[in-house]
Symmetry: C2
Subunit: 133 residues, 2 copies
């Protein structure tokens, strides 16, 4: 976690907000939670999030416009990360699948498509939430 120590104040605050959260947070929710720390404008959050994403410490969930702390020690080891997002409780499971990665890679290679970012997000109900009803 060498990168972790080089974070700026704002990046640290945002990272901590995500770490302490049970699930993903929207940028504006993060903003609200950091009001007492001096945050005033969305841009302070978005700028920090951008850097944290570059460092692989945070992921953006495209399908729900929210951000989540990376669950793995170092996410840079995978190109593609998949998410299972519970629409009831908000819990997010992060996983990677080499076969999926391979297949998508095969498609892009075959079509000479140069991928820059791949999104795999499954929304639904997690085990405990679908048990509830």
């Amino acid at each position: 976690m060498t990168t972790r120590n080089q974070l700026t104040r704002n990046q640290n605050l945002v990272m901590h907000a995500l770490d302490s959260a049970a699930g993903p947070l929207s940028a504006y929710t993060i903003l609200d939670r950091l009001r007492d720390d001096g945050f005033r404008a969305p841009l302070q959050v978005y700028r920090a999030l951008e850097k944290l994403q570059e460092m692989g410490l945070v992921h953006r969930l495209e399908s729900i416009n929210a951000f989540v702390a990376c669950a793995h020690p170092d996410c840079h080891s995978h190109d593609m990360i998949a998410f299972a997002i519970c629409e009831k409780c908000g819990k997010v499971d992060e996983f990677s699948d080499d076969v999926v990665q391979e297949r998508l890679g095969a498609w892009t290679a075959r079509h000479r498509f140069k991928p820059s970012k791949t999104t795999v997000e499954i929304r639904g109900h997690c085990a405990s939430c679908s048990a509830d009803g």
Copy 2:
């Protein structure tokens, strides 16, 4: 294409706007293009889009907040559809992959996760755009 004939006026207009477009359109772009046809408010577009998506005639691209006409005669034949989206020219390729579907299905089954919607979107540069530079 039986469903196609049962579309309402608004649904028809939105469908036609997407059909005539080279690539995906945002809801507000659709709205602008339908001003002359009497469209005034975003909701007219969003309501039509919602129905068209239910019928499988239109897909929403989560990662770019845009909508695209389905490329296949009947998309209901697949649970999961993947998209390759060119960030330069906007071209979208739609495909499905049984192996990917299988693997994601295996993961959700193993974790007793009940999926409702799955998003697979690859952003990058298409063949012709990456050739350009």
